[in-house]
């Protein structure tokens, strides 16, 4: 029989419940308040007193209200039909909710019970299967959505029967499998999984090495992220975190994109709702919304489900990864999630760590990031979850617990800088402070050689050295004045400006410049590095400035033109003439 309890105390959304039976840590319970039932999660147990965080407003809750425990942790429901959906942090389908305002205690089923799916069997009668084995496949927005043996099933089973190809709903039995004791289990297209537990159905998790193309030059060229990699974007407000994140999610070469809007502005989510059904995936030409799942738990929605939202998103990502798909997961922003943890820890009167965050914050962040990765599945296929989180550091100061905790675990760091944003140098990723650890992986170097001829990594490193040199020279010029340094210094500085303006800066609002395919990035970097490796002769620094401004202008026109179009070639020719003018 399910454990029951009664409310004993209330502080904001932390409720103490006296219970009459066993409860588990993180177990879900429902608190009755009039005719609504409020969902809550167990955070701490102390004797018969259970502390639960309520995912809703607790207004009007009284001592003595009835509580019913469910016997399971917070779960998501997995099955075909999640793509293109807008869920809240607890996986309620927001479009199915009635009314303009959210109603307390209104929960719904996240999938479509009626829809018929075109099912194709993959397993054969007699096959030995285990958790996550592919039994069949349906077409979900052109993605091969695998129907798998539920992840919770332990041991080896034998396939007794598989449904014939045809149309089925998610509730129809599509296979019967028999366990070692001879018991039959009917499998349909739905399964459940607790969000706080990682889905581990792979044989191996190697170091990731395949470039995940994002079409953003400052990422792909300078600090690439890989399929199954992890990265984070910290930045003060107004530095373009959201624009960069939207750009990545629009353009990245992934099969599935999951966006967890965690405690951020509602109007930004509305922008996705409005744009994504219209915009096309640059890799497949299909509408972006078809490959996207949005988990919207905006800043005014209940705080506790903010924490749940990132786990919900990650679990859905793991489900699609187990089908052998490339998943990109974006969370904006992980700081809001950390703040939700802080609020609860504070109410439970735990001893605080730095900035009043819970002591185990960095362990929680670490465990979460480690759920991403590139994996080999048991059937030999591969899948990946690339995770990019944004961090909103308080006061723009990167020495705060969330940034530091994330820095330890994320392998790519894209530091957004106020100064660059003020000067409208977008994306405002600081090229010197940012890094990608993957670029140092020999596996990555080997992989990129199959994509780009020549010493690509050597060239990228040379570019970074030049940027650093340019910055040093600029500081000297600022101190000594334009006339106080040799003309050569100006040349060095302006070469670094060419890299900045042509490679690093990119117009996210220009149709052509917004997406830069790898082939084009290769072409432009080679072009720019040729310019930088050339010696020039000038009489005065004014000539230097004037000359390089012209070079930048022509190169920018190239960035705005269709690759290898007539216009592009004209600008290229103009650039060649300009270069011939000055070569020493």
């Amino acid at each position: 029989m399910a454990t029951k309890g009664k409310v004993k105390g209330i502080i904001s959304n932390l409720v103490t419940v006296g219970v009459d039976g066993p409860v588990a840590q993180n177990e879900i319970c429902y608190i009755s308040l009039g005719n609504v039932r409020l969902m809550a999660e167990v955070l701490k147990v102390n004797g018969d007193d259970v502390f639960v965080q309520v995912f809703e407003s607790t207004r009007g809750l009284k001592v003595g209200n009835e509580v019913e425990f469910t016997g399971h942790m917070l779960e998501v429901t997995l099955g075909p039909g999640m793509l293109s959906r807008n869920y809240d942090g607890l996986q309620n389908d927001l479009d199915k909710l009635t009314g303009v305002f959210l109603k307390r205690g209104e929960y719904n089923f996240p999938l479509d019970n009626e829809k018929l799916w075109d099912f194709k069997p993959l397993a054969q009668v007699g096959d030995k299967v285990e958790a996550a084995s592919w039994l069949g496949e349906v077409d979900e927005n052109s993605q091969p959505h695998k129907i798998m043996v539920p992840f919770v099933m332990e041991g080896v089973y034998t396939v007794k029967s598989v449904a014939a190809a045809g149309q089925y709903t998610i509730n129809d039995t599509i296979a019967v499998i028999t366990d070692s004791d001879g018991n039959d289990h009917n499998i349909n297209m739905i399964q459940k999984w607790p969000v706080k537990k990682a889905i581990n159905v792979h044989t191996e998790k190697p170091r990731p090495f395949r470039l995940l193309e994002t079409g953003v030059r400052t990422i792909d060229t300078a600090n690439p992220i890989v399929e199954g990699g992890t990265g984070f974007i910290p930045g003060p407000f107004g530095t373009g975190k959201t624009v960069l994140q939207h750009a990545i999610s629009k353009q990245a070469d992934a099969n599935i994109v999951i966006m967890a809007a965690c405690g951020e502005r509602a109007n930004e989510v509305v922008e996705i709702f409005v744009e994504f059904p219209e915009l096309e995936d640059p890799h497949t030409g299909r509408k972006l919304m078809e490959r996207t799942i949005i988990i919207a738990n905006t800043s005014n929605m209940p705080v506790a489900s903010r924490e749940a939202s990132v786990y919900t998103a990650m679990t859905i990502a793991e489900y699609y990864r187990a089908m052998g798909l490339k998943v990109l997961l974006m969370a904006d922003s992980t700081s809001r999630w950390a703040q939700a943890l802080r609020e609860m820890s504070n109410r439970m009167e735990e001893l605080p760590g730095q900035d009043a965050f819970p002591m185990d914050l960095s362990a929680i962040i670490g465990a979460f990031y480690s759920r991403a990765g590139y994996v080999y599945l048991k059937n030999g296929a591969t899948g990946s979850i690339t995770f990019i989180g944004t961090v909103s550091p308080a006061g723009g100061n990167l020495k705060e617990p969330v940034t530091e905790g994330t820095k330890k675990v994320a392998r790519c760091f894209y530091a957004l800088e106020q100064n660059r944003a003020d000067r409208k140098r977008y994306p405002a990723v600081n090229p010197i402070d940012s890094y990608s650890k993957y670029i140092e992986y020999p596996e990555f170097e080997e992989y990129i050689k199959t994509k780009i001829e020549g010493d690509w990594i050597g060239m990228v490193n040379q570019m970074k050295t030049l940027l650093l040199r340019g910055k040093e020279v600029q500081e000297q010029i600022n101190i000594l004045g334009d006339d106080g340094v040799p003309v050569d210094y100006h040349v060095t500085f302006w070469k670094s400006e060419v890299i900045d303006f042509v490679i690093l800066q990119q117009d996210a609002f220009d149709k052509i410049d917004a997406v830069c395919p790898l082939e084009r990035q290769e072409f432009m970097l080679k072009l720019v590095m040729d310019i930088c490796n050339t010696d020039y002769e000038f009489d005065t620094f004014l000539d230097v400035i004037d000359y390089f401004k012209r070079i930048i202008n022509v190169c920018k026109q190239m960035n705005y033109s269709e690759f290898h179009s007539e216009k592009f070639e004209q600008h290229l020719a103009a650039l060649k003439t300009l270069l011939a003018e000055r070569e020493a």
Partner: protein, 438 residues
């Protein structure tokens, strides 16, 4: 307001500066109570121990004070009668008029389902070029002024309110000085727009904890007009720093562990709950929030402006420009995140390009100024940029400007024509051909 069956408690066990506790049963979370007539709200229940936050402060409350629970959360009676009236933080009239009749609504109600929101798309014209040209406001937006306490933000806000074509203007005054309160009252009165205004005011003379109710009161009234009447509502909240300070006082009295700058750990969520009420409803109504966050020593990394910046859709900075002796809207630090939804769409095609060019040239002038201050020689271009900056500041950025956006664009083009050559402004050729003033 005592009803026959209500139980009266008379034994308070614990009193702090903002809260008191007693033994009571059957009490709901967030429920209102009166403590010797002073309004209070339940903030913590532990068994039969109930803690109340006393809005009026606990000065003079004895341990045998009469405590009566009202069985409801803070609420406001809403109807068209609200228009033209002034209320205190508890929603009681302070203008000598009668009580409002209408439906009683709990304040701090639920959030809008994000999928039901419309994307904001209507321009709010203020006549101030520093706003309309460079940082265009859109209905359904939330944006604060980040201002030093000595800056004329209340005047600018009053001007914005009067010029914006809003159906209703709701003023939420927190820790307003009595002088500023009277200023708002006079301005609205003299402009003859009192019937469009609803005010909820907590002055520095009122207890600080009462302030916590002001934003929710103002926004509950706003939601009534925006949802029930499909009106365009503009909400003015001044000053949100006073609100956050009051939050800090209460959380401190409740022994909560403070986070950055002694602010409660929940500051982000608390502020977001208010600002996210800004919305464009599908049926046409909208709530736009213009707030003031006063800074201490111009420090925007302090927890209050910092958290605000992450929540709001941009921010506006005022600055005194010593070159022209006027207060201007700072074009560098100000930002409206929603401006691209209207610039060039609801305004003339050249809006975005002209705005960017002018700010870029103004930045060139700032560089020239630094050069000058450091004793380096100025080029002819530098000199011209400086002249441009002066005119730009005086004719467009100053807060006393009042023209429409088309005029603003024309002024900008004529300034470009006076000081620069077409190739120096970096504007698309076809626009230059169309608008360049010879």
């Amino acid at each position: 307001m005592t009803k026959a069956f209500q139980k009266i408690y008379t034994k308070i066990t614990n009193i702090t500066k903002a809260t008191c506790s007693l033994k009571a049963s059957g009490v709901g979370n967030d429920e209102l109570a009166t403590v010797n007539g002073k309004l209070a709200q339940v903030v913590r229940i532990m068994g039969d121990d109930v803690t109340l936050q006393v809005f009026g402060g606990t000065e003079g409350i004895p341990t045998n004070a009469e405590v009566i629970f009202l069985g409801k959360a803070p609420s406001l009676k809403v109807s068209d009668q609200l228009a033209g009236r002034f209320f205190n933080a508890l929603g009681e009239p302070i203008d000598g008029g009668p009580e409002i009749e209408g439906e009683e609504i709990e304040i701090g109600g639920p959030s809008v389902n994000p999928v039901r929101r419309k994307q904001p798309s209507e321009l709010i014209a203020t006549g101030i070029a520093g706003i309309d040209l460079n940082n265009t406001l859109v209905s359904g937006q939330k944006i604060p002024f980040f201002a030093d306490p000595d800056q004329p933000y209340n005047q600018v806000m009053a001007n914005v309110a009067l010029r914006a074509e809003a159906d209703k203007i709701i003023l939420g005054g927190m820790g307003l000085t009595n002088d500023d309160y009277l200023y708002f009252k006079n301005v609205f009165n003299n402009a003859g727009v009192l019937d469009r205004i609803v005010s909820f005011v907590n002055t520095t003379e009122n207890p600080p904890v009462e302030r916590l109710l002001i934003p929710d009161m103002a926004l509950t009234a706003a939601e009534y007009f925006a949802v029930e009447k499909n009106q365009k509502v503009l909400v003015l909240l001044t000053d949100m720093t006073s609100y956050a300070d009051a939050l800090a006082i209460v959380s401190n009295r409740m022994d909560q562990i403070p986070s950055k700058d002694s602010m409660p750990g929940s500051l982000y969520s608390d502020l977001a709950k208010i600002y996210e009420k800004a919305v464009q409803f599908p049926a046409g109504g909208s709530i736009t929030i213009i707030a003031v966050t006063t800074l201490s020593g111009g420090d925007i990394t302090h927890a209050i402006p910092d958290n605000t910046g992450y929540i709001t859709e941009g921010q506006l900075f005022l600055r005194r420009d010593s070159d022209v002796g006027k207060v201007i809207v700072d074009p560098f630090r100000s930002l409206s995140r929603l401006k691209q939804l209207v610039a060039g769409k609801k305004t003339r095609e050249d809006h975005a390009q002209v705005m960017n060019a002018a700010v870029r040239l103004y930045a060139d002038a700032a560089n020239a100024k630094t050069k000058l201050e450091n004793g380096f020689d100025l080029t002819n271009y530098d000199e011209r940029a400086l002249d441009f900056a002066k005119d730009y500041s005086e004719q467009l950025l100053a807060i006393d400007v009042n023209i429409d956006t088309t005029q603003m664009l024309d002024v900008a083009w004529s300034l470009f024509g006076t000081h620069f050559k077409p190739e120096e402004v970096n504007i698309k050729q076809e626009l230059v051909e169309k608008y360049w003033k010879k």
